[in-house]
């Protein structure tokens, strides 16, 4: 490493590794991981999100989790929270649906209205 530009490159890569602790996150995916969510396949859903995000090298998206949301009949339930926009809640998620949400909503910015069960707070 010989220049400030080299240092910057290393920094960007390292920041990517630390993004869970950082604040430059554009979209936060919150998977409902209560007992019923897990029973309905929430773990698979979360895994698929993680894999898709990794495959597409999306650096400003994080996946996190929460407990039961009370929408048992629509589990697994996933919230997408984007800075400055209303929260979008998807229900009855499957790994297939996750892939579509990643492409449409997260990459192209278009909400997949077929899967939406609620919006806003």
């Amino acid at each position: 490493m010989k220049t400030l530009a080299d240092l910057k490159k290393i920094r960007e890569k390292a920041q990517e590794e630390m993004k869970l602790r950082g604040s430059n996150v554009r979209i936060k995916i919150v998977v409902g991981m209560g007992t019923s969510g897990i029973a309905m396949g929430a773990r698979e859903v979360m895994k698929t999100f993680l894999e898709e995000i990794a495959n597409r090298n999306l650096t400003d998206v994080i996946v996190t989790q929460t407990g039961e949301k009370g929408l048992s009949s629509m589990e697994p339930v996933v919230d997408l929270i984007e800075e400055g926009k209303a929260k979008v809640t998807y229900g009855n998620m499957t790994p297939e649906k996750v892939k579509k949400v990643v492409v449409e909503h997260i990459v192209n910015g278009r909400v997949v209205s077929d899967y939406v069960v609620a919006t806003g707070e």
Partner: protein, 617 residues
């Protein structure tokens, strides 16, 4: 790219490690392996997070959930509930009477803090150079080397007004400028990591928790003064700090940040780690230099100062660990930013180690000028247990005790000095009203007597004399005039000693005399220690009206000085009592009292002995 979704930051500062943090880390690895979740969770060892009292502590991102006093038994629950089901474990969170604090930044302990030197401690993995770089590390060095002249760097430090954090508060830029101005091929930069003040552990935490920051600070200083060789002098009591710094140096070398032509410039730098071997006086800069040279760590008279004749007679700058830790941030954010924090004469923040009878012991970083009240009661959470605040000892064995009336004093170099205490390295020992100030003064004096290197007589002999007087006073053999004698001796030792150790060692005694003179007087005149700490000046007494005659005290007494019967109740024979306190501890009905003052029987006995002695003489 990784599939990680959780960063688990386990504090592995020495405090948490001593409370079992490594076992917890092991347990997490085991449980996550069992569950097949190793790919999802990053386990990161960080440096000290600060609230050592609650150790082992951890923070879990992305939410920033803060857990305290975690045990290996809690690990399964954290994984099962928090990691799998997304339900953070409330019982492991910090709470006060009203609410539970789930997220780290809500915890009151952190709220008045501004972290500059400690910014990365407890946030990054200290063994990862990448994580340091991710937080902006080495940018200050790169910018200084490629875009600034050494004089530019010194000018920034001058504008910032950074003062030495090790004790004296000498402005860093003056030392730098002196060495910069001297033409010499050989100059040295030394990082003083011989943190000896009892109760201070910020340097250890910085070296362990963010070693690259210290290294970067040192290299910027080296560039400014024109040195190409540096030394870390770290006390041998800190093995982990020594390892971390050594590793950091090797990592930096691996990336070309150490050695020749750093950042493609003609700046070359090499650094070595030297260790102490258990001598408090080596924190004094001349003593430290002699120790590096392979000599006894004796101080030598100044001038000449290290800036003109330091290591091997060459111009040398000695900077404290915390001082160096501030430098990279000042270079990046600028002197103006630094000047927004602190007071007229003391800029920036200061790290304090809060210990003693206080709720939140640990490491905190606050802006200079904060009041003692805020520091002790807001950040520190106030007193622990029943006792009321009595005094705070600042600055270790060189500092002094302040009292309730000083709680609103702003903490900066000058305000503390005016009142007989000092900033020192930032150790703050809080004491409740069960502590005897004469005894505390004696304790510090004993420390200084042991640590005096013996080279100059005021320190070697004067401190010993002071100790002997204090010892007499606490044993009920104080005389009229002792207080004045202590003051006279104290002032002479301060004036005549060669180095900082002797020049400041009388402070604890002088400041306690200044603020707690009545305690000294009651020890001397009434033979009474109101806090019942000095064993010769208190007595144990059985209250017959409460005694049930169970004989437990008599059976537990190691000197068989308690006698009696169920009917007559029990009584302590004062002349044989060694004040071990066993009877007090075992009495099932609390019929035994600790009473301040020497027992009349003992007084009479001692008077008789004295009379006999006078007769013999």
């Amino acid at each position: 790219m990784s599939l990680k979704r959780i960063d688990l930051l386990i504090c592995c500062g020495s405090g948490c490690v001593s409370a079992g943090a490594l076992k917890i880390k092991e347990r997490f690895h085991e449980v996550l392996k069992e569950k097949g979740m190793e790919n999802e969770i990053n386990i990161i060892e960080t440096g000290c997070m600060g609230p050592c009292d609650y150790g082992p502590v951890m923070v879990i991102y992305p939410e920033g959930i803060f857990y305290k006093t975690v045990t290996p038994e809690d690990v399964s629950e954290i994984v099962e509930e928090h990691f799998i089901k997304g339900r953070p474990v409330a019982r492991l969170m910090l709470s006060d009477d009203e609410r539970t604090f789930s997220v780290q930044k809500e915890v009151p302990f952190y709220q008045k803090q501004i972290k500059v030197a400690l910014a990365n401690c407890g946030y990054i993995d200290p063994e990862s150079l990448d994580e340091y770089i991710a937080t902006g590390g080495y940018e200050a060095l790169g910018t200084a080397l490629t875009e600034m002249t050494p004089q530019d760097v010194i000018d920034v430090m001058k504008a910032a007004g950074l003062r030495g954090r090790g004790g004296g508060g000498f402005p860093a830029h003056i030392k730098w400028q002196m060495v910069h101005n001297i033409q010499d091929n050989e100059k040295y930069i030394i990082c003083n990591g011989d943190e000896g003040d009892p109760g201070a552990f910020m340097d250890r935490s910085l070296l362990e928790g963010d070693p690259h920051r210290i290294l970067e600070g040192m290299m910027i200083a080296a560039y400014a003064i024109g040195a190409s060789q540096g030394f870390f002098y770290i006390r041998a009591e800190y093995p982990l700090a020594i390892t971390r710094i050594r590793d950091a140096i090797e990592q930096a070398r691996g990336l070309g940040l150490m050695g020749k032509n750093i950042f493609g410039t003609d700046f070359n730098f090499e650094v070595e780690v030297r260790t102490g071997a258990g001598a408090f006086v080596c924190g004094e800069e001349m003593a430290l230099i002699h120790s590096i040279e392979g000599e006894r760590g004796n101080p030598t008279p100044k001038p000449p100062y290290p800036a003109t004749q330091g290591l091997w007679g060459k111009p040398t700058v000695v900077n404290n660990v915390e001082t160096l830790a501030n430098i990279p941030t000042i270079m990046v954010k600028g002197a103006e930013w630094f000047n927004t924090m602190g007071t007229q004469t003391s800029k920036g923040t200061k790290v304090f180690a809060i210990t003693g009878d206080i709720r939140n012991t640990g490491l905190v970083e606050v802006p200079m000028g904060i009041t003692l009240r805020e520091l002790i009661f807001d950040v520190g959470g106030g007193m622990v247990g029943e006792g009321k605040f009595k005094a705070v000892q600042l600055g270790g064995p060189s500092g002094g005790c302040l009292t309730v009336e000083h709680l609103d004093v702003p903490v900066d170099y000058e305000s503390l000095k005016e009142r007989g205490a000092m900033m020192g390295s930032g150790g703050l020992i809080v004491m409740n009203d069960e502590k005897c100030m004469v005894n505390v003064a004696k304790f510090f004096m004993e420390f200084c007597v042991e640590e005096s290197c013996g080279k100059c007589s005021p320190c070697r002999i004067g401190l010993k004399q002071m100790y002997e007087i204090l010892d007499r006073i606490t044993k009920g053999q104080g005389k009229e005039g002792d207080i004045e004698e202590l003051q006279r001796l104290g002032e002479s030792v301060k004036m005549l000693s060669l180095c900082g150790l002797g020049q400041t060692a009388p402070n604890p005694v002088l400041s306690t005399i200044r603020y707690f003179r009545d305690e000294y007087e009651s020890h001397i005149r009434d033979h009474s220690c109101s806090t019942k700490v000095c064993l010769d000046l208190m007595n144990f007494n059985i209250d017959k009206s409460r005694c049930i005659g169970c004989s437990l005290c008599a059976r537990k007494c190691p000197t068989n000085c308690i006698t009696g019967s169920r009917e007559e109740k029990y009584v302590i024979h004062q002349l044989e009592c060694i004040k071990c306190g066993n009877c007090y501890d075992v009495c099932p009905v609390n019929a035994i009292d600790k009473i301040p003052g020497m027992h009349p029987e003992m007084k009479e006995y001692r008077a008789k002995l004295q009379a006999q002695k006078d007769l013999d003489d």
